[in-house]
């Protein structure tokens, strides 16, 4: 069902953007892992003893620090921006510009186009997060060999982040397949993931905004549950399910819709 010719062209057109974002994501991970200083945290812990902050610093490990920085902000927003730009360019931008007409004037099925483009987006994300994870793992070994890190938890953080991005890419890809105009595709395909990101961020900074947790898919990537050994498999399952359903829905809407080409 994947068309090699289309895949090759898609790769050619999108590889630059992918490289840039993969590089940025990997560098961020490497920097955040390497700058962590166990003793500094302990020092601060002593300093704030007896204050309300004591609990926070007392518990801080490398992974919990990463959970509240990279896995909450940088590692989320950069892939989201990549997804938004790529998903739109894969389908909606080509329908909007009209260049999709050339693909469809060959004996290529609509479903082949969707499957090929979706595969590109998913593979791009898989490879991006593999590189980021491997780089993070190596950095851990090199710079933090003396710190006690639960590697299984580190892996689960990355798998969880990938599943969140898979689900988000499903949202953006769905609207790219549904809308004939780039501006509409972006309004939803960018608007919804960004709103989710903001809700998650706001809900974590202030207790009064905690209710926002219930309005964001990002809450399903629950770093606290992963680090505290609670059951998080059902959340992973939901993220995976959302992604799969949205990609299938993309196929269905694109096959059925009118193309103004």
């Amino acid at each position: 069902m994947i068309n090699g010719t289309i895949f090759k062209q898609t790769l050619r057109a999108n590889i630059k953007l992918w490289l840039i974002f993969t590089l940025v994501l990997t560098l961020l991970q490497v920097v955040m892992v390497s700058v962590f200083d166990d003793r500094m945290i302990t020092d601060i812990g002593h300093m704030v003893e007896g204050t309300p902050l004591a609990g926070f610093f007392g518990q801080t490990t490398l992974l919990s620090m990463l959970a509240s920085t990279f896995y909450a902000i940088h590692g989320v927003i950069f892939p989201i921006i990549y997804i938004i730009m790529t998903a739109n360019s894969l389908i909606a931008a080509q329908v909007d510009r009209g260049s999709m007409a050339y693909l469809l004037s060959t004996p290529t099925k609509r479903s082949t186009i969707i499957v090929t483009q979706a595969s590109y987006l998913i593979i791009a994300l898989v490879v991006m997060f593999c590189i980021e994870t491997v780089a993070g793992f190596i950095t851990l070994q090199v710079f933090q060999s003396d710190v006690d890190v639960v590697i299984a938890d580190f892996m689960m953080l990355n798998i969880g982040l990938f599943l969140l991005m898979f689900a988000i890419s499903g949202i953006s890809f769905f609207f790219s397949s549904l809308c004939n105009l780039s501006k509409n595709s972006l309004a939803f395909g960018a608007g919804i993931p960004l709103a989710f990101f903001l809700f998650q961020l706001l809900s974590s900074v202030d207790d009064s905004l905690e209710v926002l947790r219930y309005f964001t898919m990002n809450a399903l990537f629950d770093t606290a549950a992963i680090l505290e050994g609670e059951n998080y498999w059902w959340q992973f399952g939901i993220l995976l399910g959302i992604g799969i359903v949205l990609y299938i829905a993309s196929l269905v809407v694109f096959k059925r819709k009118d193309l103004p080409l």
Binding site: N3, T5, I6, Q9, R12, A13, Q94, R97, G98, S99, A101, Y102, L103, L104, S105, T106, P107, T108, K109, R110, D258, L259, P260, L261
Partner: protein, 309 residues
């Protein structure tokens, strides 16, 4: 045998836009002209032939296959030239040609090379940097590279310089000779006139006239331009024409003894016998103009006075 068929196709985009109850049939080996001004609905009809759009009502078939359900199968023997060139910009012309060959599973590029030579296409540069004319030529070459039996061409000569327009018209005539079935949409009378056998005129989404050009030529009155030697014979000739209902006096210019007469082809020999007695300085036929016919049609129908049905 009917190759392309639209039967009572309606697509309403709202606000009176779209196409309404459009029917026409393109027979094998004919060149069918789809003539109408901008916004008349030509591209909308073609979208349905290509299977890009699903008709709200009616049926569209190509070679007997429903074009919505069998779009990808139909493309195997169909060449499509879009009305607007929107090529993928990140490629070079050659990469684009290669991509289209791969998607069509063409191994042999001799036909493609021939087309590139014929249309003087230089495909080496980036598509982004090509002139509009060069982009159009690139689209033309990719539409015909697989030597399809059916050609669907949406305003094919727009954006081409006059020399290339003529070359394109020659190309179409040649393809017709090779037995291709061609649908050509246009708002330019001359290119439809030069290439098409059958013509449908569309206006505001409705087909207002469909005719066979040869039949129309046989049916319409012939117009002749005459100059008479002297005023006496001129006046007599005018009297003779005005007294006979088979002939019509179209115009006269008494100063220089000129007049225009029209009659149906069946009365031609009668006309010639009658005027043979007069001393003439000149006698010539005024060529039939599709454009004139088209305009008359438009003026009559489009004022909005006549109901469509």
């Amino acid at each position: 045998m009917t190759i392309i068929s639209l039967q009572h196709v309606t697509k309403d985009y709202g606000h009176g836009r779209g196409i309404f109850d459009v029917s026409f049939h393109v027979k094998k080996g004919t060149v069918y002209g789809f003539l109408g001004p901008n916004g008349a609905g030509k591209t909308t009809a073609i979208r349905h032939i290509m299977g890009f759009s699903k008709p709200q009502q009616g049926i569209v078939t190509v070679s007997g296959l429903n074009s919505w359900n069998n779009a990808s199968t139909i493309q195997e023997t169909l060449g499509y030239l879009p009305g607007e060139v929107a090529l993928p910009e990140h490629l070079t012309g050659e990469q684009f040609i290669q991509m289209m060959m791969d998607l069509r599973k063409i191994k042999d590029d001799t036909h493609c090379k021939k087309l590139m030579d014929f249309f003087e296409l230089d495909a080496s540069g980036k598509v982004k940097r090509m002139s509009l004319g060069m982009k159009r030529k690139l689209a033309i070459v990719t539409a015909f590279m697989h030597d399809p039996d059916i050609l669907v061409l949406d305003e094919p000569t727009s954006g081409l310089d006059p020399i290339m327009q003529q070359r394109f018209i020659d190309f179409i005539k040649d393809e017709k000779r090779r037995g291709k079935t061609i649908l050509l949409s246009s708002h330019i009378f001359t290119e439809v006139d030069a290439t098409c056998d059958e013509i449908s005129i569309i206006k505001e989404g409705h087909i207002i006239s469909s005719f066979n050009k040869q039949e129309l030529l046989n049916m319409t009155e012939k117009v002749f331009h005459l100059t008479v030697e002297n005023t006496k014979d001129y006046t007599q000739l005018i009297q003779m024409i005005e007294s006979d209902i088979t002939f019509q006096l179209i115009s006269k210019n008494e100063q220089i003894n000129e007049l225009q007469i029209s009659c149906y082809p069946s009365d031609l020999s009668k006309l010639i016998k009658r005027i043979a007695d007069f001393p003439l300085l000149s006698f010539s036929e005024v060529p039939f103009s599709l454009e004139k016919h088209f305009m008359e049609f438009y003026d009559r129908r489009v004022g909005g006075e006549l109901p469509w049905q």
